[in-house]
Amino acid sequence: MAIKDFPIEEYVLPGNAACPGCPSTMGLRTVLKALGKKTILTIPACCTAVIQSWYPYTSFNVPTLNIAFEAAASAASGIAAALKKLGEEDINVVVWAGDGGTYDIGLQALSGAIERQTNFLYICYNNQIYSNTGIQRSGATPYAAWTTTTVKGKKEFRKDIGEIIIAHHVPYAATACVSYPEDLYNKVKKTMGIRGPKYIEILAPCPPGWRFSMDKTVEMGKLAVETGAWILYEYENGKLSFNGISKSIAEGKYKPKPVEDWLKLQGRFSHLFKPEKDIVRINAIKDHIRDTWEHYKKLASL
């Protein structure tokens, strides 16, 4: 669906407390437009816990349960179970969590909820850091990125949570990026027709966290996809397929831009370019992107 045809109803209202250029709010706005009014959100500790505004106000126009950091997926299990008993299974049960709450502290509850075939949609908006606490390393932080707890750059590569989710044999999993709202909208819409656990992970470039100008959020997300640093895919009925530009990259119809084009615009990677170019680490990033692509191409061919 084209953006101009999105429902006019807004569920993320003005007056919220997001930073200018916040990708989380952009993503959630699209997600809720797709899901509509019959949606219950549960949100663990993350930026969105603050963004929704403070008591007694709220900027969210769907029922929202805030819950502890590691507890979102299990709270959603409870919500889904209660709705089943109330005969209200047509309501979308949705977790909206950051990467810290998904990759790290919330992984156990998420794994459990998926294994139990909970009928819910779990969305991770991944800004690749603990941003709400002020930019600390998470399991989603990419190699070499500066954070306040990796001041010389992270030494490890990020966890591939998508594969962890897929290993649970979910009926649906996908990646998305806030820069492609139609793609995100369509993916969310698709989950609404599927019973059981659904997982979508949205790349969410964070201006203060990644150290770029707040008017460049969309561009930063696009570059991540265009350089191949972020892959858009869907996993459905045991089959993985690429979408959008990622599909063109996989088919050899689009030559990915050099990853430096994306890295250079982010202050968190500035140490890779000055005082002199850090060829070793830039090559390690390139190798990792190449290996990830090879791996995913294999998965897609299965």
Partner: protein
């Protein structure tokens, strides 16, 4: 009404089944396991129309109960020891969210080393979470208290979660006869749950977002009011239960042969049952001893303890827990509530039975003798050997 002979755990499961929760989320842990097994069987045999969520941890058990209760249904869970400790964060969450969740906790010691026997340090460590806490001394009391608890906590003047404690193995795995009412009678006593708030797509609210100090402070104050309110409700519900079903275990406390007592024992849980035997035995020797069994540790039965201390100024407090660095929790709180109110009160604290060490009526007789003979200090570690 029929009489069933069964273990404390199966009786707890039966009580939960008869209270008709819509969602049960639980995780097994010794010695609680047979409660969740019992519930699972009821659900699978269609004797209980509930969703049973086999969660992957106790933290998730409580989180799922919170999610379900916030969606507007009655919930139940059960745990013990380390499971309860893992839940700790969510115990606070449930109470602050004012969700009337009911949970059984089978009191068990905390490791290391691994010890599966009775000890109340698990639940005492949760005393500041805002939950109502009941301690049972018989399987009948377990049954009655579980159902009573729903009626208490679902009262709009309370709306806090409740924890019903039973001693690991002492009650959990011991079969005793229990009078079980008909389901119809239970339904008359406990009407279906009508939530005061719920996650409702037609009336969207945001629960638990950022709150500033002035409002947060009021939330805490309101929790305190709710605990205070619950004192009256606990009494009313216990009275109503007695009228309807004939069994009665006291309300906040149970008094046993206290009228002319010159020494009163304060105890919780199964030690309370043992203390009754001790009282009878000692009285046969002409010594006037009574028992004030603490059923509700939260809300704390302050008035009842003060009233008792005014009649009898010698109080022997037995704690199957230790606030390391201070003393047993019941003794400490008893002292605190008597301070400046009953000037001549003497409180003798006895730590006993930690890690499941037996505390029999003979031990309790010996404790009484130590106090009567003037050989008991402020805090005694009974039976250290």
């Amino acid at each position: 009404m029929k009489v069933v002979i069964d273990t404390g755990n199966y009786i707890a499961a039966r009580a939960a089944m008869m209270a008709k929760p819509k969602v049960v989320a639980a995780y097994p842990i010794t010695p609680q396991t047979t409660i969740v097994e019992g519930i699972a069987k009821y659900v699978e045999n269609d004797e209980l129309d509930a969703e049973y969520i086999c969660v992957e941890s106790e933290h998730s058990a409580m989180s799922a109960c919170i999610g379900a209760a916030a969606t507007g249904v009655r919930t139940f869970t059960a745990t013990s020891s380390h499971g309860l400790l893992l839940m700790h964060e969510m115990l606070h969450w449930a109470a602050l969210a004012r969700l009337p969740i009911v949970m059984c906790n089978v009191n068990r010691a905390i490791g290391p080393g691994w010890n599966i026997w009775c000890d109340e340090n698990d639940s005492i460590a949760q005393r500041d979470t805002g939950w109502l806490q009941f301690y049972c001394s018989s399987n009948q009391e377990v049954f009655d208290t579980v159902i009573q608890a729903y009626k208490i906590v679902e009262n709009e003047k309370v709306l806090l979660p409740a924890m019903i404690n039973l001693g690991g193995f002492i009650l959990s795995h011991t079969s005793l006869p229990v009078r079980i009412p008909e389901q119809k009678e239970v339904d008359e006593f406990l009407p279906p749950y009508e939530p005061k708030w719920r996650l409702d797509v037609n009336h969207p609210i945001t629960h638990g977002n950022i709150i500033f100090p002035d409002d947060y402070y009021k939330i805490r104050y309101n929790m305190q009011l709710a605990q205070d309110n619950s004192r009256k409700i606990i009494k009313e519900v216990a009275r109503e239960w007695r009228e309807k079903f004939g069994t009665y275990h006291g309300d906040l406390v149970e008094e046993y042969r206290c009228d002319d007592a010159e020494l009163v024992i304060l105890a919780m849980g199964a030690i309370g049952a043992e203390a009754k035997v001790a009282v009878d035995k000692i009285r046969k020797n002409g010594l006037k001893v009574g028992l004030l069994r603490i059923r509700a540790f939260r809300p704390f039965p302050e008035e009842e303890i003060i009233g008792m201390a005014k009649k009898c100024n010698k109080l022997l407090v037995i704690d199957r827990n230790i606030s390391v660095g201070n003393e047993g929790a019941l003794a400490g709180e008893t002292r605190a509530c008597l301070k400046d109110r009953v000037e001549d009160a003497n409180v003798y604290g006895f730590i006993a039975g930690l890690g499941g060490k037996d505390v029999t009526y003979i031990d309790i007789e010996k404790m009484c003798k130590m106090v009567i003979d003037g050989k008991a200090g402020r805090v005694e570690w009974y039976g250290l050997g």
